[in-house]
Amino acid sequence: MIKAWMEIISNRPIAKNIYKMELKGELVQRITCPGQFVQIKVDDSFDLLLRRPISIAEYNAEKNTMTLIYRAEGAGTKRLSRKKASELVDVFGPLGNGFPVEETKEKALLVGGGIGVPPLYELSKQLVQNGVEVVHVLGFSTKAAVFYEQEFKELGETFVATVDGTFGAKGTVMDIINEQRFTFETLYTCGPTPMLKAIEEAFPHKKVFLSLEERMGCGIGACFACVRRTKTDANDSGYKKICTDGPVFRIGEVMLEC
C-alpha cells in the first residue's frame, strides 16, 4: 500500500446517485486481486476528516488506471462526485484481501447487491480470462439505480432483480437464485448484510466467498473499528478485521453481524 496522488481521468454519474471515477497512477501496480479497496481523502480540509473506503471495480496495470464506482450518499462521497477530470485525489491503498480468483476452475456464480456490485466486475473479467464460466445475479432497489447490466452481460449470463419490479425480475437476488437453481463450483458475493446472510443460509455447504462492509477508521488494522467475531473461537475474544483480514471472507469464517 502507498499514499499517492492520482489523477482523475473521468468522473460521471452512471445511475441514480451512482458515480464512476477513473483514476490514473502508479498505485495501480500494487493491486493484487479483485475485491481490494482504497481509502480516499476527498480533499485537504479537516471538516470531512476521515478517508472513504471505496472498492476497486476494475483495474488495468498496463495503463496504470483503475475504476471506482461509488454511491454519492453522504457529504464526503457527494463532494467526491463533484471532482472534475485532471484534478488530483489523495488515495491510500490498495488495501485488504480480495476475492480468490484461482478457487474456481469451471463455473462461478457472482451475486451482487446495490453498491456491492462494483468489485464483482473485475472479478468476473479475471474469471472469464481464466476460462471460467460466470453467471451474474444483480439486485438493485429500482430501475434508476441499475448500472453495469450490459457490461456484465458481455462476460456471461446476467440476471437482474429490482425490489419494486421496475427492471428485470421483481424481488431480490434470492428470488432469482431460488427460481433458477444454478449449479456452480464457487459463489462470490458482495452486498448488504441481509443479502449475505440469506446466501449463507442457502448455501452452508458450498464454497462461498463474501465481501463485508463496515465503517472504518484507519483501513490498515490499527484502530479496531471494523472487527467481526470469528465463529470458531470459544473464549469470546476471537475476531478478524474487515480491513486487513477481509473484506473478503470464506463462508463461516466470521459472524456477519457484530
Binding site: K3, F46, R215, C223, F224, D236, S237, T244
Partner: protein, 311 residues
Amino acid sequence: MLAVKLPGLELKNPIMPASGCFGFGREFAKLYDLSKLGAIMIKATTLEPRFGNPTPRVAETPSGMLNAIGLQNPGLKKVMEEELPWLSQFDVPIIANIAGSTVEEYVEVAKEISKAPNVKALELNISCPNVKQGGIMFGTVPEVAGHLTEAVKNVSSVPVYVKLSPNVTDIVAMAKAVEKAGADGITMINTLLGMRIDVKTGRSIIANGTGGLSGPAVKPIAVRMIYQVSQSVEIPVIGMGGIMNVDDCIEFLQAGAKAVAIGTANFVNPYVCVELIDALPNRLKELGFDHVNECVGRSWKDEKSSSNSCP
C-alpha cells in the same frame, strides 16, 4: 534540537503516536521505520483479552470522529509474550497504556508490564469513556484517581503517567490529585464524550450509543486544559487532542506540554508522525527557536514575565 528528557524517557524528538490509534505498531511498521518516533504509546492493555464493543464503532463528525472501540486488546499475556518483544527490534521507548475494571486489575497489569525491558513508562488509562466499568469512573473523581495512582506507583518498576479525561468540570483538581498521589507525569486529553444520531433511524450511529470525540474539533479544549494544568503542577505534561500539523504541535508545546502525541491524524495520514518529526526543525527555526524546549509553556511564561514587568 528535538531531544526531550522526561521521567523515564529519553526522547529523540517530542512526537509519538497516541494510545489506541497505533495498535502495537505492526501496521505502521510496514510504512516507515518506527525507530524514528520519539516514543510509542501502545494500545491499552487489560489483564484478560477483551473483544470490545459491537460495531459500528466509529462515526465521522465535523472535523472529528467518534469512537467506541471498548478497549479491545489481546490481554497482558500476549502483549508481554508477543507484542513487546516484537517492538524491541526498534530503537524506541514504549509507553504502555494500561486499563482495568478494578484497582487490583490495574495493579496486576502495571506490575507485570513495567518489567518489560522496552517499557520505559506507564500511561494509566483512567479516562476511557467507552467501557462500563473502569476507565472513566477512575478519571472523574479526584480521590479515586489519586488512590489508583498510588496503588499503581507502589508496584510499577517505571515512571507512571496518568491520562486525564476532559469530561470533568475541574481538570486542575484532577491533575493535582494524581500529582499528590505520586504520578510522574500527566498525559492529556483523552476523548470527549459525544454522540451522533442517524436521522433516518433515530438511533445512535455508534452501537455503543455514545463515543469519544477526537480530531481537530477537540483541539481548542485540549490546548486550554494543558494551559491550565501545566501551570498548576510541577510534573510534566504530554499533550494530545486533535493535532494535525506542525503548528498544532508547537501550539501544544507553547500551551505547556513538553511532548505531544498524535492520535486521530494517523488514520487520516498514516505517515503523519514522521512527516511532523521531519517538518518540526525548520518550523522551529522559522519561529526563532534553537531547541524545542524553548517553546514549552511560552503562552503562560511570557504572560507572567510581561505582567511582572508592568509598572
